[in-house]
Symmetry: C2
DNA sequence: ACAAAAGTGTTACGTGTACACCCATGA
DNA sequence: TCATGGGTGTACACGTAACACTTTTGT
């Protein structure tokens, strides 16, 4: 029985499985993408997403988190599978499929020294250079997914510091959707969702008057979702 | 150079890559799922989604279409990547990841003889038996995706015959979302989208009066989308 | 006191929802 | 003629968008 089983599997071909990571950050009102210089052939020296081969004792998520930790020094980042790229000729080096994932990180938290040491670089999303293999397509797909998700799930908060102001949140959404929102309406909408906790502190970096800081209340969000609440921005 | 490249790839491990297919159909007002009896160890004889190993000269889509054609006799089905399942211990037989895809097919078109010959079976979506490996989870995820997509993209039509009535369309959506819609409002909504062409024929199978048949106009849909139109049911 | 950002209030409009109603037809 | 499903019309509630307006504070 076991013999037969092994034979059956063995009569098929294996492939390399890579995991590539589209890392988004938000800084100075701009969406950023983390890229670095490819260190292996083919196309050594080209810009590339960060990635790695998935090892036998890892799943895609574990693999991506390992690389992410290596390069940004960050643990506990938001990470989600995007799509698997399987074109036969996508990698000239070998038959290799890639499970792409996208990550959202609080850009002021990351270990700048580590990022630089690995030759990585935060590039502006409107100025993404030519990337290796099919990585540009991955970025396009990830951005589309981010836009789709941000509307129905509170993932935008993953890109902001713990405490943020309503105008900061608005500027993030304006960066994601590349358009302007009416500030009054945006504020009303976002507060009506009942997932923001107002703090006593103010942030005065952007105005004389200062804007109150808020915090995302994940517990409350979960409760609302469980009771059938439909989040939407 | 090439030597170094090959060495680099070779120092990593390969895996088996499978492609599993969640096949939805619609019949008698019910959503159906195509499953069949697994013919290989482990778990030979268990119910399973249809699937196969992805061959070296195939991408995931090609692979799924090959199996689908084999078992249903159908070409040109709607097929889209769902998600890739990579848990280390998901397959007891070997380290094997699976790229799941979901398909929507017009159930009255399929080759019934072929389906039966392969031991496949259309099961009711509310009565899915225990499936092998992580296939039950795949079905859950696929159903969620179908619900999400059907709201914003005209994929529902893939499950209906070429010509269908508005009440038929409504009954499909009721099956997908497991709730009832107001028929007047549903009709207004769906006709306001401007992608249905009214035919002269009537279908009298469900009422004495008969209901007019309609046809989905894909060209018109594409035009509307290109001009920024936002489809939503 | 004024510029500039934060924050509030008011109104008009379009869309979804509930529901009453008419139509066509075979038995 | 009546039961049944197909199809139309209307009235109201509500969320959104546009925009006028007030508040705060450093210079």
């Amino acid at each position: 029985m076991i013999k037969q089983q092994i034979d059956y599997y063995a009569s098929n071909d294996k492939m390399y499985v890579a995991s590539d990571c589209i890392v988004f950050g938000f800084d100075q009102g701009e969406l950023k993408l983390l890229i670095f210089k490819r260190r292996v052939e083919p196309d050594k020296g080209d810009w590339s997403l960060i990635g790695s081969f998935v090892e036998l004792d890892e799943d895609d998520n574990t693999s991506a988190k390992r690389v992410l930790k290596q390069i940004t020094g960050l643990d506990h980042v938001f990470l989600e599978q995007l799509k698997t790229y399987t074109r036969v000729d996508r990698d000239k080096g070998a038959r290799c499929i890639s499970i792409a994932q996208y990550a959202l990180i609080r850009i002021d938290d990351y270990d700048k020294a580590l990022v630089e040491k690995h030759g990585a670089y935060w590039c502006n999303l409107n100025e993404v250079p030519q990337l290796t293999l099919d990585h540009n397509q991955m970025v396009i797909d990830a951005l589309e997914e981010l836009r789709r998700k941000a509307k129905y799930q509170p993932i935008g908060f993953e890109l902001l510091p713990e405490k943020f102001t309503i105008p900061q949140l608005q500027s993030l959404y304006e960066a994601i959707y590349q358009c302007e929102f009416d500030s009054g309406n945006f504020r009303k909408k976002v507060l009506s969702l009942k997932v923001l906790e107002k703090l006593e502190e103010k942030d005065k970096s952007n105005s004389r008057r200062g804007a109150f800081l808020y915090q995302f209340n994940a517990d409350n969000y979960r409760k609302l979702v469980n009771s059938g609440y439909h989040f939407e921005i």
